[in-house]
């Protein structure tokens, strides 16, 4: 569901009455559906890819090992993309979310090693992530720094902090990953828990964006900053909270991801994740112009990238080809969305 789009009808304006309505040809209705439900296109592509890889690789692709590895690619991208959508709707961006994703489990690890119980360590690590988000947001709105620059800086700072305090040594084992209790399974020790977390936050954040006051204020602030402020919306506060939420979600799934893999590598660079995440948002139908975006689309975009990576590997195509295909899909999605926007604009003129 497109935030800000008509929610209960795909028709933008009053329909001509009675007979003429039936005269609208089917292809136009389908087109209209795709124009107003931007998630549909990536869903169709994803299903198409799934079918293609199933035909090419058969059960090698559809067995749970393969699917879990596709989910493993998609999970981190999806978690970051979901939070990133909120910022893209605000016409902002958070380049540090990927590094927050990697930073959170380190904080948890350090605190646990310092003698704190795991639960407390996780809680404080998430609080630290919220702190990073708050700093991102406050610097952006108070000092009037473009968020691209603010979050680029925090990205490097967090990367540096991890290198410094880890002594450039891998951490292993990390808390929870070796245990088999329910809570550790929930927090990532079970193969599928990460993707389920991502599904859950997708649903929650989509609801936040389309059904809550905070969500409508995000759309308003991103769609018309001055107008929203004139209407009495506390636009700066809205932005800061969105940065906090984005960092929190990245940190949360970051901890789950670390538990899943059981070790931490200080050399991982968060920008890798961010580029995929922004790609997933774009593939899902979110423009970078503000005022519009879809959380579900971002999730679908992440799944699409995950299936593409897993499937290409399985049918024996070189991983290098994967990058080319991701690029092609992003360009295709951008072009399609641009065309859809033009069609909407044209329908308004007539």
């Amino acid at each position: 569901m497109q935030a800000g789009a008509p929610t209960d009808t795909t028709a933008p304006a009053a329909e001509p009455p009675g007979q003429q309505r039936a005269a609208v040809p089917v292809w136009r209705r389908v087109l209209r559906l795709f124009i107003y439900q931007r998630e549909l296109t990536p869903v169709v592509i994803t299903v198409g890819l799934f079918a293609y890889f199933t035909i090419r690789a058969g059960s090698n692709f559809t067995d749970s090992l393969s699917l879990s590895s596709a989910a493993g690619y998609a999970g981190p991208i999806g978690a970051i993309a979901v939070g990133e959508v909120l910022l893209l709707v605000l016409a902002e961006i958070d380049l540090s979310a990927g590094q927050v994703f990697l930073f959170a489990p380190w904080v948890e690890y350090w605190l646990h090693n310092a003698g704190l119980p795991v639960a407390v360590a996780i809680f404080l690590a998430l609080a630290a992530c919220c702190g990073v988000g708050a700093i991102n947001g406050l610097i952006t709105v108070r000092l009037n720094v473009p968020s691209f620059v603010t979050t680029l800086a925090t990205n490097f700072i967090l990367f540096g902090l991890v290198l410094i305090y880890s002594n450039m040594t891998q951490a292993t084992p990390i808390p929870l990953s070796a245990s088999t209790g329910f809570s550790s399974k929930l927090m990532g020790a079970w193969l599928w828990s990460e993707i389920l977390w991502v599904v859950a936050i997708t649903i929650v954040v989509q609801m936040v964006l389309t059904r809550t006051r905070f969500g409508v204020r995000i759309v308003a602030t991103g769609g018309n900053l001055l107008g929203a402020a004139e209407a009495g919306i506390p636009v700066r506060r809205v932005k800061v909270w969105a940065f906090v939420l984005c960092s929190f979600l990245a940190g949360l799934v970051g901890i789950v991801d670390a538990v899943k893999y059981g070790s931490l590598d200080p050399g991982n660079f968060g920008v890798d994740y961010i580029l995929y995440a922004v790609g997933a948002c774009v593939i899902g139908g979110t423009a970078l112009t503000g005022g519009r975006g879809t959380v579900i689309g971002a999730f679908v975009g992440a799944i699409l990238i995950g299936i593409l990576e897993d499937g290409l590997t399985l049918i024996g195509v070189s991983t290098n080809d994967f990058y080319v295909w991701v690029g092609v899909v992003i360009i295709f999605a951008m072009a399609l969305n641009g065309q859809f926007d033009r069609l909407i604009a044209r329908s308004r003129e007539t």
Binding site: G4, P6, V216, A220, G227
Partner: protein, 272 residues
């Protein structure tokens, strides 16, 4: 026509308490002094027209009165109480609503959400879920009441005509049942039929006597129809304050032109 503030007609016996009073209001942006000491009185239930050249400070005055910007000096008194608004919400709490020149609509939001922007109805307590049903219902009821027509409540503001947007913006301000309504060029970019709609709307409001209105407009004919009194603003000051029945269209035009000439003379004298 004199620039002496005329003693205006008191609207009733209880003219002691004004809806709004402004004393010595100043505002500067860096080196640019926009307001040089505004004195203004808005009486209970009247419509006050504000005219002046571009850059005279009209919009700045409105933005201070509605809490969007803060004054550097001077006093604002609402209902006899000195106030200083630090936010639009604070001004709203004192019953001040505004229709901005840029309309402050969100292109991507449907009409009914634009109508409730800034005071959205919510349910489920602290979760603040939007009560879309209630907002749609009230929006429909409300737009019907004031005879504003839009293609659909679900239409995004982007899809409306200029006049429809303007109507929605006015409707949003009026919906909150303000005591003071500030209209910053509410008729700009509107066709004749659409202007008529807004003018009638404002006249209806004014005749109820419950709301006092300040309206900025460049179209003197509109102002003469709407207003009880007209203030002329020049160079950051109010230079003329007259009841509309003592003012003629020609007089007002003449005043504006002569002032413009004087400014030109001042400029050339300063250059010489």
């Amino acid at each position: 026509m004199s620039t002496q503030p005329a003693e205006p007609m008191p609207p009733g016996p209880s003219s002691v308490e004004h809806a709004l009073e402004v004393r010595g209001l100043t505002k500067r942006f860096g080196a640019l002094v926009v307001l040089r000491g505004i004195d203004l009185v808005l009486r209970q239930g009247e419509v006050l027209g504000l005219v002046g050249d571009n850059g005279a400070g009209k919009s700045t005055l409105v933005k201070i009165l509605c809490g969007f910007q803060q004054q550097d000096g001077g006093e604002v008194i609402v209902g006899g109480e000195p106030v200083r608004f630090h936010s639009v919400q604070a001004a709203r709490a004192h019953g001040i609503e505004t229709v901005y020149q840029d309309l402050a609509l969100i292109p991507q939001l449907p009409v009914y959400l634009n109508l409730f922007l800034g005071h959205e109805l919510t349910k489920l307590g602290p979760l603040r879920f939007l009560d879309k049903q209630a907002m749609r219902k009230l929006a429909r009821q409300y737009l019907d009441e004031i005879k504003v027509r839009v293609p659909s409540l679900e239409a995004e503001a982007e899809q409306l005509s200029g006049g429809q947007r303007q109507a929605v913006a006015v409707a949003r301000a009026v919906r909150a049942a303000p005591k003071i309504l500030l209209l910053d060029e509410p008729l700009a970019a509107m066709g004749a039929r659409e202007s008529r709609l807004i003018i009638d709307l404002v006249k209806d409001l004014a005749s109820s006597g419950r709301v006092s209105i300040i309206v900025i407009d460049h179209n003197y004919a509109h102002l003469f129809e709407l207003c009880d009194r007209i203030n002329v603003m020049q160079g950051g000051r109010i230079t003329t304050d007259q009841p509309v029945h003592e003012t003629s269209l020609e007089g007002l035009t003449e005043l504006m032109v002569s002032n413009f000439r004087r400014e030109l003379d001042d400029l050339s004298n300063a250059g010489a």
